[in-house]
């Protein structure tokens, strides 16, 4: 690992979103500035100042060789701009970046395709444009064709391809690039499910071959599967960087759980209230992050101000869509209601494991006085619970269930002939 593959220092990119006063915009003015190189000087007599937008600003990070790093964030926070700068498509305004090794950028599927040319011709063209040698394309031609599953359509102009075929061919070429550093921008989110899975599989292979990958995606499951660490971009800066599970969950938590937290009532004259919660055995330093499928325990700290005669508490886990996932209660036939004199208590819920799909979850805790079913405290526990285990199930976000259960799969051949063979099962007798 040790070797640095990408080193970015103070990188910034400024776009001009409004031009200065008219004199600057004339063709003549531009021409002279093109030659003299003074076009970017601001003029003192500006009535309307030029307006700029920093797409990314003061960005610094390092990526070790062989690392696969995800980049997430809302639209327009500079993810693509960063890739474009690293791919040398556009220049930064400030800062610098070093890339060690051969760089390939995959910013769209089917880069360089020409509609009039056949599939075969486009494989060579796109390969050359993406930086492959002719001999390399020839060597891997059969692999590329096999991956695309378009053997029959190789001599048809790609303008007659369906969009799915186009994408398959495009990805097939890109998947056989051989760079040291690969920059990928949201190209897996196309094609049908089966093809997406193949792309993802191919990307995993690439990742395991020791290449360095920067991977921009909005598919959190893809990010989780492929990337060891992840950067969260916000407003042109790096908001968070760290292990993928945690960063992704924090991001999801913020983007989905837009509703703000409601804290328990103020300290004045309360009978009892929850103070805090934490998770034990979560496998991470953070008491709100769980990364294992081992036994865990929730601990809620309760502060009782005035005596509670017969109390009972409820504890619920919701996902960010408000779906109730699990609930527990302090009530128990044997124990009955709780009698709590003033002081501090710890409520503990022990669970054998918490096999939830990786995401953010919200905890809700309540406390009632049995007499008259009077609400003593009603608390949306913040921050959220972040589940950052690695996903065990289907590779696509769409097919991620609620549970993240480890499972084994095998194929067992059965005795007897196939139903399609001469003795059909629906034959009488």
């Amino acid at each position: 690992m040790g070797d640095t593959a990408i080193s970015v220092r103070g990188l910034g990119k400024r776009y001009r979103i409004r031009y200065g006063p008219p004199p600057d915009r004339t063709l003549r003015g531009r021409l002279s500035s093109l030659i003299s190189g003074e076009g970017r000087k601001s003029r003192p007599d500006q009535r309307q100042p030029e307006e700029y937008l920093w797409a990314i600003q003061d960005m610094s990070f390092e990526v070790s060789a062989g690392e696969v790093v995800g980049i997430i964030g809302r639209n327009g926070v500079g993810k693509s701009t960063l890739l474009k700068i690293l791919a040398r498509i556009t220049e930064p305004t400030t800062g610098e970046a070093d890339l060690y090794g051969r760089v390939s950028a995959l910013l769209e599927v089917g880069t360089g395709f020409h509609g009039e040319l056949t599939g075969r011709e486009n494989i060579f063209l796109s390969g050359a444009i993406l930086g492959m040698q002719r001999s390399e394309v020839i060597r891997r031609f059969d692999e590329i064709v096999a991956f695309s599953e378009l053997e029959k359509f190789l001599d048809v102009p790609v303008k007659r391809y369906s969009s799915g075929m186009y994408v398959r061919l495009g990805f097939a070429v890109a998947a056989h690039l051989n760079p040291d550093i690969l920059l990928v921008d949201e190209v897996l989110a196309v094609g049908d499910l089966a093809f997406q899975r193949r792309c993802l599989g191919r990307m995993s292979d690439v990742a395991q071959e020791g290449r360095t990958v920067l991977f921009v995606s909005h598919q959190m499951t893809s990010i989780r599967r492929l990337c060891s660490s992840t950067m969260w971009f916000d407003g042109g800066r790096i908001r968070a960087v760290g292990p993928t599970g945690e960063v992704v969950a924090r991001y999801e938590s913020e983007s989905l759980g837009a509703a703000g937290p409601t804290t328990s009532e103020g300290p004045r004259g309360y009978q009892a209230r929850y103070l805090s919660w934490r998770l034990k055995g979560g496998g991470t330093q953070d008491p709100h992050v769980i990364s294992t499928l081992d036994p865990v325990a929730f601990e809620l700290e309760l502060d009782v101000g005035q005596k509670v005669q017969a109390g009972y508490g409820g504890f619920e886990l919701f996902d960010l869509n408000g779906q109730l996932i699990w609930s527990g209660s302090t009530h128990d036939e044997e124990r009955g209601d709780l009698q709590l004199s003033p002081g501090r208590y710890l409520f503990e819920f022990h669970l054998p494991n918490l096999p939830l799909r990786p995401a953010a979850y919200r905890l809700h805790a309540s406390l009632y006085e049995a007499d008259g079913h009077r609400l003593l405290d009603d608390w949306w526990a913040m921050p959220e619970l972040i589940v950052a285990t690695s996903p065990q199930s289907h590779p696509q976000d769409d097919w991620q269930g609620v549970l993240n259960l480890p499972f084994q799969f095998r194929v067992v051949p059965c005795e007897g002939p196939s139903a399609a063979s001469p003795s059909p099962r629906d034959s009488p007798g």
């Binding site: 070797d3 593959a5 776009y15 063709l27 531009r30 021409l31 093109l34 030659i35 190189g37 474009k84 700068i85 690293l86 791919a87 040398r88 498509i89 556009t90 220049e91 930064p92 305004t93 400030t94 800062g95 610098e96 970046a97 070093d98 890339l99 060690y100 090794g101 051969r102 760089v103 950028a105 910013l107 769209e108 880069t111 360089g112 020409h114 009039e116 040319l117 011709e121 060579f124 063209l125 050359a128 444009i129 993406l130 930086g131 040698q133 002719r134 102009p157 040291d180």
Partner: protein, 295 residues
């Protein structure tokens, strides 16, 4: 002198930077740049495979789904020649240095046809390849360069017709023919020089697309194509020669048909073409930094 990115370590053979001293990897450094940029000759040479493909693509695509295909390369100058012969040669009696007007005009229309089609192609090449510019890096110069070279195919085909006409009129093949490649080279330099200017400006101001056809129309008459340059008075010769195409057309006609050779105009043309090329590259290199943001 600085470049968009420098391959710091030396590539160990092959046409792409591969192994090198720095931990087995070549280093690409990305920096903002100011001032004048050099021409990445090394990089262009390394990308010659790609240049080949770009040329090949232009050739493949040019006459796809047309009935006549490459026949258009012959037909276009041929029809112009007939029209010119009827109007200028027949009706207006424009002198043609003792040659049949048809071959006189055609020998000029063929190089002119290359110039006008390549200039149009090169000036629109960056905008036409916007999809590439915004998605992948390669030396940007390859696009206009490839376009200019690809148009040579049409020129070559049309040139054969010139020889056919020469044979038809039983004109001799001359020793001066050997100088043809030199004039061709000069024409390519001139085309690329002017084309680079227009291509770069076109990225920012699409006015160019409107201006170019009009410009070419005027330029046609400022060049000795339908008339011999001897019609231009000696007082105006120097000004006239500032048009680099004057000497180029004169040269082609001289090499093919043995008309009066270009004189001083050749040196003026050479100087002008080189000035266009040098300044065109300069402008192009300056604009390519922000090209992808604007195109």
């Amino acid at each position: 002198m600085s470049r968009t990115s420098e391959i710091v370590a030396s590539p160990s053979g092959g046409s792409r930077p591969e192994g090198s001293s720095l931990g087995g990897h070549s280093l690409t450094r990305i920096l903002p740049h100011q001032g004048v940029e050099g021409v990445p000759l090394r990089e262009i040479w390394d990308s010659r495979d790609l240049l080949g493909y770009l040329i090949w693509r232009d050739l493949r695509v040019r006459y796809k789904q047309t009935l006549l295909g490459a026949g258009w390369a012959i037909l276009q100058p041929f029809i112009s020649m007939i029209v010119f012969t009827v109007f200028f040669g027949g009706l207006l009696k424009v002198p043609s240095e003792g040659l049949p007007y048809a071959v006189f005009s055609f020998a000029a229309l063929v190089p002119w046809g290359y110039f006008s089609s390549a200039l149009g192609g090169v000036s629109g090449s960056l905008v036409g390849n916007a999809g590439l510019l915004t998605k992948v890096y390669f030396p940007r110069l390859l696009i206009p360069l490839g376009n200019m070279i690809a148009r040579l195919a049409d020129f070559g085909v049309a040139l054969l017709i010139v020889f056919a006409l020469i044979a038809y009129y039983r004109l001799p093949l001359r020793l001066e023919l050997l100088s043809l490649p030199l004039f061709l080279l000069l024409m390519m330099v001139c085309t690329l020089g002017v084309g680079l200017w227009l291509a770069a400006i076109n990225v920012y101001y699409r006015d160019v697309q409107v201006i170019v056809p009009f410009l070419l129309q005027l330029w046609l008459f400022a060049t000795p194509i339908v008339y011999p340059s001897s019609l231009v008075g000696s007082r105006w010769r120097v000004v006239y020669a500032l048009n680099p195409m004057v000497a180029i057309i004169e040269g082609f006609r001289w090499a093919l048909l043995g008309t009066s050779p270009p004189d001083l105009s050749l040196w003026v043309s050479l100087a002008m073409s080189l000035v266009f090329l040098a300044s065109g590259i300069l402008v192009f290199q300056r604009t390519q930094r922000t090209m992808a943001d604007v195109v």
